[in-house]
């Protein structure tokens, strides 16, 4: 450690602000251990849950007074340390969640940042509008989605959520609120979306929703005998798909490397669904409380524990693949919510991973090098005997946001179970994977990250991009009030 000497005055007493610590004592009740969504790490901070801009401004004032940093948090669904701020304030925006304006004619909605995707679709679906981009869980918030510039299974077609945001208001750490559009304060527009909460706090977001003519999607499931086949299927199906996503079996090796199943989904054209007002009802979208009519979904995660080890995983994946193979080509009509929010299907499923939690590693790799790079990555995880428990392949397109993870290529999201014993091995493996990704010209995604090192971030973003982002941060947040553990780990460490 540098700076070993603790600051003391001439009398040898530490230069501490006792008054400041008394100020902090008032907030003892707010101390909470704020977890990463994956549960593999956490950070203790003072949690504030403002309900409006006045309370929000108050929290910024408290931060200035107490010299604490502020980390913004939405639904807390970032896998790693992007949504907590140890030893600082955590600004949890979940209660700041009103719909401010909704136009069912144009599908333009204006809402506060804490509105969840669940609340959003429930609000608009009966008018025939669906979120243009939906995450794998509906527990994410609009503000969090904008800050991370999230994508859905339609990323190849409609880009990330930022491409559908028409306008937003941003509260700067000074308390000032600025309005940003593509042609107004455009530098912040393109930096705050995807800027993981480092420039300001959204106070309202205006989003263009997607018109749908039915509450159902046409879904086709196809088996993929290996990763090459899956890539071919992707290429063939992309032009005619509205959504396309692939499940990759992380334990299959040899000829079956990267085998799995893809799901292609399409909207129903106007007039195809004879009773759209029925299928668009919230009741008909939501997941029931049981599966097969009897098993409560809330207990399934306990059974899943049997499969969250390398042997159980092999069995489960084999079974899953066999079913997908046998039923390949089957078509179903599925409600939007059931198709999109797979992560909500089994409540608390991550608990089945045990106390150590999980992390996700999701590299984004250009179109032409993706297939080979992903094969190398899968082989590397198997060589380390740390196969992924869940692999998900998606197609993306480039976008204009400064800190973007988007590119003309593919992403492969890989879940890894974390235990006390395997942490070091995972870290070593990830270093190898980072090299493969960088060699292939790939990128990373802060919402999923737990392992990115500063040198890797500089390599994929480019020193110029980071300098540009720092310049904006310096301009709008000169005291560096906005911080998270991720920001300190990746961008404040030499």
């Amino acid at each position: 450690m540098q700076d070993k000497q603790y600051n003391v005055d001439e009398l040898g007493m530490p230069q501490l602000s006792v008054a400041l610590s008394k100020e902090l004592k008032r907030f003892d009740g707010r101390l909470e251990d704020v977890p990463a969504w994956g549960g593999a790490s956490s950070g203790m901070g003072w949690v504030f849950r403002p309900i409006n801009t006045d309370q929000l401004a108050e929290v910024f004032a408290i931060a200035h007074k107490t010299d604490l940093s502020i980390g913004l948090r939405g639904g807390g669904n970032s896998y790693g340390d992007a949504a907590y701020n140890s030893n600082g304030i955590v600004l949890d925006l979940c209660r700041f969640n009103r719909v401010l304006d909704w136009n069912p004619e144009t599908g333009v909605i204006r809402a506060e940042p804490g509105l969840t995707i669940h609340q959003l679709w429930e609000y608009t679906v009966e008018d025939g509008w669906w979120p243009p981009v939906a995450t794998g869980t509906a527990k994410t918030t609009l503000g969090g989605c904008a800050a991370m510039n999230v994508h859905g299974k339609n990323a190849f077609k409609v880009g990330p959520i930022g491409d559908h945001i028409l306008e937003f208001d941003l509260m700067l750490p000074s308390g000032e609120i600025i309005t940003c559009r593509r042609n107004e304060n455009s530098d912040i527009f393109f930096a705050a979306i995807g800027g993981f909460g480092m420039l300001g706090c959204f106070t309202s977001i205006t989003l263009q929703m997607k018109r749908v003519y039915s509450g159902l999607l046409d879904v086709v499931a196809l088996a993929s005998t290996d990763l090459s086949v899956m890539f071919e299927q992707f290429r063939a199906l992309l032009p005619t798909s509205d959504y396309l996503v692939g499940w990759v079996d992380g334990v299959a090796s040899g000829n079956g490397l990267g085998r799995g199943q893809i799901h292609k989904a399409n909207y129903l054209e106007k007039g195809v669904d004879p009773y759209p007002e029925q299928s668009l009802r919230v009741d008909n979208q939501n997941l029931g409380d049981t599966i097969f009519g009897i098993v409560p979904r809330s207990i399934i995660w306990q059974g899943m524990r049997l499969f969250t080890n390398n042997y159980g995983l092999r069995a489960a994946n084999l079974g899953k693949y066999a079913v997908s193979y046998a039923t390949s080509g089957s078509k179903i009509r599925q409600p939007h919510a059931q198709f999109h929010f797979l992560l909500d299907y089994v409540p608390n499923w991550k608990k089945s991973y045990g106390g150590g939690g999980l992390i996700q590693y999701q590299p984004f790799i250009p179109r032409d090098s993706a297939e080979n790079a992903f094969k190398t990555i899968l082989r590397t995880t198997q060589r380390h005997d740390l196969p992924t428990y869940l692999g998900v392949l998606k197609r993306h397109r480039p976008d204009a946001f400064l800190m973007t993870h988007g590119l003309d290529g593919f992403s492969l999201a890989l879940d890894f179970r974390i235990t006390q014993a395997n942490r070091q091995r995972i870290v070593r493996m990830v270093r190898e994977l980072d090299e493969i990704v960088l060699d292939a010209g790939g990128r990373f995604y802060p919402a999923k990250d737990s392992t990115l090192r500063p040198s890797v971030a500089t390599a994929y973003l480019g020193a110029d991009t980071i300098a540009r982002f720092r310049e904006l941060k310096q301009r709008y947040d000169p005291d560096s009030v906005l911080q998270t553990n991720l920001w300190r780990r990746v961008f404040m460490t030499p």
């Binding site: 007493m13 101390l31 593999a40 992390i359």
Partner: protein
């Protein structure tokens, strides 16, 4: 801003040792630092403290007098921020001035209570709140076999250690349900300055040996630990000697 921002998959153990400039505290800093723990070493005497920390990259000195209670919350906060969190706190500060058998000195007794007990309350309460909320963490207090019985020799010292043991026991009973471990260490004779005022000593252990035993007990999350272990049985007997006999002995 922490000294080293933490990485989610590479968590470091972070500890505070209060009373770290000499004796058992200094040995605990060394033992923990050698194990790779990030240690904040807190003590009054700056030069000794720096000498304890200098050999280690991962030990950091903080000059503080434990009777300066007002300062504790601010310094605690500063340390937790520097270490980017906290997993373990060891309260080790203790004094035992020489007391003659016919001496009844309020100032000495008061000083012992302030350093050995009130300082412990100031520091351990800070950690307890944090660990309570986090539902994990480990609090360790260096009490003494002297807390098990009020002997004739050191009324103030025995009282202070009995109070510390009881305080730790209460913390344990509060925090056990929250997944927090509270360990009471009861050393016998450890070869430190405290021993200079003890009339007769035996089973003496070196500070390094004692520190090794204590860290091993911490790792095993033990509740009450005698150093060395055989004191447990000796004290079991001594605690049960009836007063009408005890007051006639020279124990």
């Amino acid at each position: 801003m922490p000294v080293q921002p933490s990485r989610p998959l590479e968590p470091k153990q972070r500890a505070i040792v209060v009373g770290a400039s000499s004796g058992l505290g200094a040995a605990l800093v060394s033992t923990l630092a050698q194990k790779g723990v990030l240690v904040a070493a807190v003590a009054r005497r700056r030069e000794q403290l720096e000498a304890v920390c200098t050999p280690f990259e991962n030990a950091r000195p903080y000059v503080h007098d434990v009777t300066n209670y007002e300062e504790v919350p601010a310094l605690f906060q500063q340390i937790v921020s520097d270490l980017d969190g906290l997993d373990l706190i060891i309260y080790c500060a203790g004094i035992q001035p020489a007391v003659a058998l016919d001496e009844y000195d309020f100032q000495k007794d008061r000083a012992m209570m302030e350093t050995n007990v009130i300082g412990a309350m100031a520091w351990l309460n800070e950690a307890a709140l944090r660990f309570h909320r986090a539902q994990r963490g480990h609090i360790v207090g260096i009490s003494s076999i002297a807390g098990d019985r009020g002997r004739a020799a050191f009324p103030g010292y025995h009282t202070s250690k009995a109070a510390l043991s009881t305080f730790l026991e209460s913390l344990r009973n509060r925090l056990a349900k929250r997944g927090v471990t509270v360990t009471t260490i009861k050393p016998g004779f450890v070869d430190t300055v405290l021993l200079e005022n003890a009339p007769k000593t035996f089973w003496v252990v070196s500070p390094d040996d004692a520190a090794q035993r204590i860290v091993a007990a911490i790792e095993k999350r033990e509740q009450t630990v005698y150093v060395i272990g055989r004191w447990r049985w000796v004290m079991l007997i001594i605690r049960h000697v009836p007063s009408f006999i005890f007051r006639r002995t020279s124990i």
